[in-house]
Amino acid sequence: MYMIEILRWLIAVPLLLIWLYFAATNLRFLFRNFRVGLDAGPAPVTVVGGLAGCLGLLILPWLEFADRVALLWVPLFLDLGSAPFYLSMLALAIWQRMNNRAWRNQPDYIEGGMD
């Protein structure tokens, strides 16, 4: 039992460190894009961080399993490349479908010019 716990720590900690790394990197990328003001800049690393965090949390020999499951939102939402990225994509897709003039602020793209 003791060996298994050590093994779980050994697997979970690197996974949580991966999550931390990508969460920090994605945050750094966001700030860099705002600071430099580039319309194109580093893309967030999606999924990887959140997934590693969830796995790490599930393997971690700490708290009851149900409690750890209840905490799964933490790695998913604290990594900008995971839940926040996909939720913003979903919102964008819905907005784009609902709004014919979705790109009013980007007239370069609108066929036939602005009306």
């Binding site: 194109a40 580093p42 690393v45 784009q96 980007q106 793209y109």
Partner: protein, 339 residues
Amino acid sequence: MGFFSGEITGDGYVPSRFHQLIWPKNASGNKVNGVGDTERYRPVQSYHKHHPFYPFGLAEQWFIHKCMYDFRISNWYFKHWITENIKRLGKVAGAKQEDTPENWTKTIKERALADDDIHAVGICRMNPEWVFADREIPRGEWVIMLGRRMDYDEFSKNMKGDFVSQCREVIKSYVKGQETGYRLANWIRKQGYYASFKGGLSDDHLFLVIPAAIEAGLGQLGKHGSMISDELGSSFRLTPILTDMPLIPDKPRDIGVDDFCMSCRLCTRDCPADAISDEKQMVRGDMKWYVDFDKCVPAFNELYACGLCLAVCPWSRPGVAPKLTQKMLQRREKKTAEQ
């Protein structure tokens, strides 16, 4: 045609239902690219912005996800990420090494071509007209353009329906070019001159690389909208390095591409999206070959960067490009002599 898979039909490419959902209704990449505009102006980046918040952003994210998380490709994507985000270029040395522009040019070319992954190199002066309109003119008076030949056998598997292999070859070529660019830029910095490199997958695109590669004498624009070189044909990828090191520019060269493309219809016929025109078009004040963005990109996204136009191009086949160049130039000379 399924929810996540499109279909190649006789009338062009029908994107998947998912792609149709995320494709913007009123936006046109052709408009951004300035098709039909007779006025000359700096380009606007129409794609590969790497964020979803522009009209084609969702479609681009779909493409990135398809490639990045496909395990047959992702290792190369990962290598690119390391070079882009973890490796850092060294500081520019305090004392400048002095030499003549001729010698620097010779050394740079020898160093670039000594790398097994670089097969062509050209130099040109940076032209602000190539820089995207919303970007500042980057530092570096000179552009060193590196060309890496793709493995034709791998690349041309797309003609048999294996688009993943060609996509892997494209990304691998960009990564290899990027790694050489990194080494060469670092070497230039050690000599006391500013240098930075951009790979094809770079996060912040600053300027159009094809006009720079044409100016650097690497080749000409083909009907399929990509470069054709007399050494590497159509199947190669570019990596630019910007530097202040004094260099001697190469000259643009006519290798007979226009004459050839006027009569060849292979890419036009085989393009699954029917996006390639037989006529040159006016794009931001220049008559040139142009691929219809709005038709090409859905197929590009869903067919792992497609690349069929490059694979079917006769110039792409190994060993053909130098012979074709010779043939086209001889034919032209003959024609001129007859007149």
